[in-house]
C-alpha cells in the first residue's frame, strides 16, 4: 500500500495531489526523496505507454475452461523495449511473472497471443483501478496493470471492455515484429554507419577500417545478435520481419559501403568492376566466422581490440589481397589516432551516409 496512490474520484484513500510539498513526510524517508515525489506520489514521472494485451486459449486443459470464452481463457501483457527484448507481465495462479524476454522467446508468447486476440492498449496514469477490487485473477490483474477501473472477472469481459475504448487497436504478431525489428535494427545501423565529414575525406584504407570496426562492434551487440538469431529462426513463419532485419541491417551496410567504394573508384584508389559486389565481399570478410559463432551463441563476444584487429585484417586483404608483395600495415600504430576507437554512443551528431 505504499505505492503511488490514486487521487481519483470517490476513492476514500485518495489524498490531495495538488501540492506535493504539502504531503506529510514520513520520518523514515529522506526528505529529498519525499520532496521529489510527483503529483501522483511517484518518485519518477513516466509517460503512459502502450501495452500489448494478449487474450489467449489455455496451453493445457483446465477444469474451469468450460466456464469461460473458448479463445479467451487467459490474459497477459507484453511491451517491446528499445533493445529488441520484451517485457512480459503474466499473472499466474501462484505469482506474478514479470520478466524480460529475448526476442526469440518473446515470439513464442506472441504466437500464443496470435491464437487468440491481441490488443494494443495505452495504460492509464495515474490510473483508476483500485487494490480493493480483490480476487487477483489474470483479468483483474491485467486491468490493474492498465490502470482501468473494471468489474470484469474474465479475460473475455476485459477484452470487451478494452475493445469499447476508442484508442484501443487490434494488433497482429507479424506487424509487431516488423515494427520492433525496424526500430532496433535501424537504430543500430544508423550508429554504425555514421562517419564524420572529416573522416569522409580520409584515405579509403583508413575510412574502411573505421567503418569496419564500427560495423563489427555493432554487429556484436547482444541486442542485434538476438534479433538476428530470431530473424533467422522465424524466417519462414514471419518473412517480413526477417526481411526488415536484412533491409535495415546488412543491406543498408552494403549500400553505404557501395557508395564509399564508388567514390574511391572514381578517385582512382581502387580497381573494382562492381562496387556493390565489392561491398558484399568486404562485409563477408568482416563477418568471418565470428558473426555466425556469435549468432549461434557459440563463443565469447570478441573484445574491442580483437574487433579492431579483425577490421584492419579485413581491410588489408580486401585492398591488398593475400597474395605476395604485402607491406606490413597491420600494426595499429599509425591509425590508432585517426578517428580513434569510436564509441557508438558518441557518433550521433555525425553525418550519416544515406
Amino acid at each position: 500500500m505504499n505505492a503511488p496512490f490514486e487521487a481519483g474520484r470517490g476513492s476514500w484513500l485518495a489524498r490531495s495531489s495538488d501540492n506535493p510539498s504539502s504531503l506529510k513526510v514520513v520520518d523514515d524517508v529522506p526528505s529529498d526523496l519525499a520532496n521529489s515525489a510527483d503529483e501522483h506520489g511517484s518518485l519518477v514521472t513516466v509517460d503512459p505507454v502502450d501495452w500489448i494485451i494478449c487474450f489467449v486459449p489455455g496451453l493445457k486443459r483446465q477444469w474451469w475452461h468450460r466456464f469461460v470464452h473458448h479463445k479467451h481463457k487467459h490474459v497477459f501483457a507484453m511491451r517491446p523495449t528499445n533493445t529488441g527484448s520484451w517485457l512480459l507481465v503474466e499473472p499466474w495462479w501462484t505469482r506474478m511473472m514479470v520478466t524480460i524476454l529475448p526476442p526469440a522467446d518473446a515470439v513464442k508468447f506472441l504466437r500464443w497471443g496470435g491464437t487468440g486476440d491481441i490488443l494494443r492498449v495505452r495504460e492509464s496514469v495515474p490510473g483508476r483501478a483500485s487494490q480493493l477490487r480483490g480476487w487477483s485473477n489474470c483479468a483483474v490483474l491485467s486491468a490493474f496493470l492498465l490502470g482501468r477501473s473494471s468489474w470484469a472477472w474474465t479475460p473475455h469481459g476485459l477484452y470487451r471492455q478494452l475493445l469499447r475504448e476508442k484508442s484501443t487497436r487490434r494488433g497482429n504478431v507479424k506487424q509487431l515484429l516488423v515494427d520492433q525489428f525496424t526500430k532496433v535494427v535501424s537504430h543500430h545501423s544508423s550508429n554504425a554507419l555514421s562517419v564524420s565529414a572529416d573522416q569522409l575525406s580520409l584515405p579509403l584504407r583508413e575510412l574502411l577500417i573505421i567503418i569496419g570496426r564500427n560495423l563489427l562492434e555493432t554487429m556484436m551487440t547482444p541486442a542485434l545478435l538476438e534479433v538476428c538469431y530470431t530473424a533467422i529462426l522465424e524466417a519462414d513463419r514471419y518473412p517480413n520481419a526477417t526481411r526488415v532485419y536484412a533491409q535495415h541491417g546488412p543491406r543498408r551496410a552494403i549500400a553505404v559501403l557501395t557508395k564509399i567504394l564508388a567514390k574511391a573508384k572514381q578517385a582512382g584508389e581502387i580497381a573494382l568492376a562492381d562496387c556493390e559486389a565489392g561491398a558484399r565481399q568486404f562485409l563477408g570478410m568482416l563477418y568471418g566466422n565470428i558473426h555466425l559463432e556469435a549468432v549461434l551463441q557459440l563463443g565469447e563476444i570478441p573484445t574491442l581490440s580483437e574487433i579492431d584487429l579483425r577490421a584492419r585484417a579485413a581491410v588489408k586483404v580486401f585492398l591488398d589481397g593475400a597474395g605476395p608483395d604485402e607491406a606490413g600495415i597491420l600494426a595499429p600504430g599509425p591509425l590508432s589516432n585517426v578517428g580513434g576507437s569510436l564509441p557508438v554512443a558518441a557518433r550521433r551528431a555525425w553525418v550519416y551516409l544515406r
Partner: protein, 220 residues
C-alpha cells in the same frame, strides 16, 4: 526401436555403410530449399529410412547430427585435401575456386536447413550446437588455414595470420547462406554463383587497391 545404448553402439560400428547412406539421404533432404521448417520426424520419413533403421545405426540424435556435420565438412574441404600440387599462385587460385564452388553450393542448400535445424535443436541442447559446429565449420576452417599456411610457407601467399585469413575467406563464401537464411525467396543476383565465387577468390588473393593508391598509402 527402443534398444539399449550398448546395442546401438555395436550396430553403429558394424554398419558404417548404412550410417553413410543415411547421412547422405538426410543431407539430401536438408538441401531441399522448400522444406526448411520440416521437423526431424518429417526429415527422417522423407529420407526413405524408418526410424528403426536410423536408430539402429546411430546412438541418438546427437550422433546423427554430428555425423551429418562431419560428412559436410569432409565434402566441402575435399578439394583442399586432395589437391594435386601447390607451387604457384595459380595453383592456389584453382584450389580455392574449387573449394569455394563446393562451399558456396552447400551454403545455399544443405547447410541452410542444417543451420536452422541446429538452431532449433540447440535451444533444447546447447552443447550439441557447439559439438556440431566443432565437427563441421571448425574442421573446414582448420583445413583451409592449413592450406593457406602451407602456401604462405612456400612464399606463394604473404599472410600474417592464416587463421584470420581462413575465417575471412569463409565469411566471404558464406554470403549465400545469409541470403538463404534471411531472404525467402532469395533475391536474384546479376552474376552466377560460379562467377561470384571466382570474383571473391580474386579479391581475396589480389585485393582491389590500385597500384598507385597502394604505393601511396603504404608510405603514409
Amino acid at each position: 526401436m527402443r534398444r539399449t545404448v550398448s546395442t546401438r553402439a555395436v550396430n553403429a560400428e558394424s554398419r558404417p555403410d548404412v550410417r553413410s547412406d543415411i547421412v547422405s539421404a538426410i543431407s539430401g533432404i536438408l538441401a531441399d530449399p522448400g522444406d526448411t521448417l520440416a521437423g526431424l520426424n518429417s526429415i527422417f520419413h522423407r529420407s526413405g529410412y524408418s526410424q528403426e533403421d536410423i536408430w539402429s545405426a546411430f546412438q541418438g540424435i546427437d550422433d546423427l547430427v554430428i555425423a551429418i556435420s562431419e560428412h559436410e565438412a569432409l565434402f566441402i574441404s575435399q578439394s583442399l585435401v586432395r589437391r594435386a600440387r601447390l607451387n604457384t599462385l595459380d595453383d592456389v587460385r584453382d584450389t580455392l575456386v574449387a573449394f569455394g564452388l563446393v562451399a558456396s553450393r552447400e551454403y545455399s542448400t544443405t547447410l541452410v536447413g542444417f543451420i536452422r535445424m541446429m538452431m532449433a535443436e540447440g535451444a533444447r541442447n546447447p552443447s550439441l550446437k557447439k559439438r556440431v559446429y566443432e565437427a563441421g565449420s571448425e574442421i573446414v576452417t582448420r583445413r583451409l588455414r592449413e592450406f593457406l599456411s602451407e602456401a604462405n610457407e612456400k612464399g606463394i601467399l604473404s599472410i600474417s595470420d592464416a587463421q584470420v585469413c581462413a575465417e575471412q575467406l569463409m565469411g566471404l563464401l558464406r554470403e549465400p547462406l545469409y541470403q538463404a537464411l534471411m531472404l525467402n525467396p532469395v533475391t536474384s543476383q546479376k552474376v552466377t554463383a560460379a562467377d561470384r565465387v571466382k570474383a571473391g577468390i580474386e579479391r581475396f588473393l589480389d585485393g582491389c587497391a590500385s597500384a598507385r593508391s597502394a604505393r601511396y598509402e603504404r608510405t603514409i
